[in-house]
Structures are given as structure tokens and as C-alpha cells.
Symmetry: C2
Subunit: 181 residues, 2 copies
């Protein structure tokens, strides 16, 4: 049974690290997994899109469309993509529902101060230096999920612990088998 797990959250919240760790653990268990990397998809599917509200919405819908195609064929699809707008995320959820494909929203809930301290891609520094604008969570909106299936508080926890939250939620929903249980 496939599923799309959308990991939404601020830049440097830990979305990609958690997705890669979930991937590592599931692949070890023989599960088909695909991480849809936001930067790679922007290059290959969304080179026309920038970071305006409309473009971010289109980006999220396109990624959601591809995720559903994979998930319907039994792949666990992990999507570590910011997806700042509630209505875009809701559209992706509705699309999955209309296809009867499982969908799970995982909110990577990391305080902004911690994201700024991590600043994996140097985006917060660039914004502060004035060489980048429209950064989600700083000078561009981020609308946190109200009822995510999974809420992952990453502060003071390891990536493996956070990945465990995702795995537990998938096992609980019978979306992957807990083979080592």
C-alpha cells in the first residue's frame, strides 16, 4: 500500500533530513520509497516557477500530482517541501482523496529561532544581508497545519527519533508493515 507523506515546515526545520532517515529505515525493510526533493523537482518539473504566491501554489500542486502517481503504485513517497499555504496543501490532500490514495501530513514543527540557528542552506543569512527576500517564515507567510496527522517537534531530538515518529504513524495506519515488531 503506497502513501504520500508530506513533510511541511519552515526552511531548515529538518524536513529533508527526516525524510532521508525515514527512507533509509524503510529501504532497509524492503519497502519501495521515493523522496521527492524540492530543489530537484523545481529544476526538472517547475523551472518556470518562482516564489510568488501563485507559483508556490502551482509548485506544490505539481509535486502533489507526481507524488500521487507514485503512491498509487505502492511507493511510500516522502515529500520534504515547505508548502507554506494551507489551501495548496488542502488541494493536494483532496487530489489524493479523489484518487483514493493514502495521504499523511507531517508538520515538522521547529521553532523559527532554531531554524535560523541551523540555516542549512544559508537562506536566513542571505535574507538578513538583504540579498534574498520572500523567505518563508521571515518576510513571506507560513501557515502552520491545524490538524496534521503527525506533528514532529524536532527541538532537542535526534533525526532518528523524529523519523521514528513518522514510521510509528505509518505503522499505526497499516501503511507499512512493522516487520521488526
Amino acid at each position: 500500500m503506497g502513501v504520500t507523506v508530506w513533510l511541511t515546515g519552515l526552511p531548515s526545520a529538518g524536513k529533508s533530513s527526516i525524510a532521508r532517515e525515514v527512507e533509509r529505515l524503510l529501504v532497509r525493510g524492503g519497502v519501495r520509497v521515493q523522496v521527492l526533493d524540492g530543489d530537484e523537482l523545481r529544476e526538472n518539473l517547475c523551472a518556470d516557477l518562482g516564489f510568488s504566491r501563485a507559483d508556490r501554489d502551482t509548485n506544490v500542486r505539481r509535486v502533489g500530482y507526481v507524488a500521487e502517481l507514485l503512491a498509487r503504485h505502492g511507493v511510500v513517497v516522502l515529500v520534504p517541501v515547505i508548502a507554506p499555504y494551507r489551501h495548496s496543501r488542502a488541494a493536494v490532500r483532496r487530489h489524493h482523496q479523489s484518487c483514493r490514495t493514502p495521504y499523511v501530513e507531517a508538520y515538522v514543527d521547529t521553532p523559527l529561532a532554531l531554524c535560523v540557528a541551523r540555516d542549512v542552506k544559508g537562506l536566513y543569512a542571505k535574507q538578513r544581508a538583504g540579498t534574498l527576500s520572500g523567505l518563508t517564515g521571515v518576510d513571506d507567510p507560513y501557515e502552520p497545519p491545524e490538524q496534521p496527522e503527525i506533528r514532529i517537534a524536532t527541538a532537542d531530538r535526534t533525526v532518528t527519533e523524529s523519523a521514528g515518529d513518522v514510521l510509528a504513524a505509518l505503522i499505526q495506519r497499516n501503511l507499512v508493515l512493522g516487520v521488526h515488531g
Copy 2:
């Protein structure tokens, strides 16, 4: 083992009908199949693209990218999309090769006169009436494959016979099992 089968050919050559028939036969055999419908993808992934040379190229590359993602996870992906330019098709083939994902080009080789007679979507009529321009094979280029893995001559043959050509080629390459052999 997944594979992308790209069915290239003129409008109304029979690409979609053959793809749907291959799908029907493989699904009956328990194989995971996905037809990537050109019109649906244009709506969902390529709404920004028109029919200029550059846009057609980008369209083909995006569809090829999605096809590879599915094929690498064991899906037989059937792509009935015109793909008029050799260099775009070559790019999709190279992308699959770089991912070590099987790729098969099937040239649906139907004479233009027969395509015009079929005119499933009424495109040739519109072009003749002057309400459409840039129609592949008429007033826009179509570069036929030089060495396709499969050449399907559809004149005087049923869709099921043509679909059989595709299945035979896949079985011959060990890409699907000939379960009823």
C-alpha cells in the same frame, strides 16, 4: 522490473488506443501499469507550456522525468505522447540511461493520410479550416525515429494486434513475464 515505453507518432496515429490496450492486457496479468496521458499531464504539470519548439521540448522532458520516477519503482509506464523532436526523445532516453531504468521507444508508424482520415480529436479538420496552426506532421515538424526498439505499422491492423507488438517486445527483453507462455 519497470520500463518506460514511449509511443511516439503523429496525431491520430493510434498511440493512445494502443497504450490503453497494452494497459488492459498487462493489468489482467497482474502487472503494475500507468498510462501517462498527454492531455492530462499538460493540464497538471505543464499548464504553462504551449506548442512552440521550446515548449514541446520542455513538455517531453517533464513527462520523461515523471515516467522514469514511476518506472524505477517497477511500473510499466506507457507514454502515448507525440514527442515530435529527436533531440527531446534522445534527452529522455539519456535520462533513463543515467538512472539505469529501462527505456523503449515505440514508433507508431501510421501514414499521414490514414491519420487525417481517422482524425480522432478533429485537429486535422481544424488545421484545414484555418482555426488551428502548428499541427505536427502538417505545418509543424515531426522527426520520425531512426532506430526505435519497436516499429508498429498500424495500417490494416487491429489495435490488439499492434498492442501485441509492444507486449512481444517487452517479453523479449525480459521486461514483463510471458505468464501465459
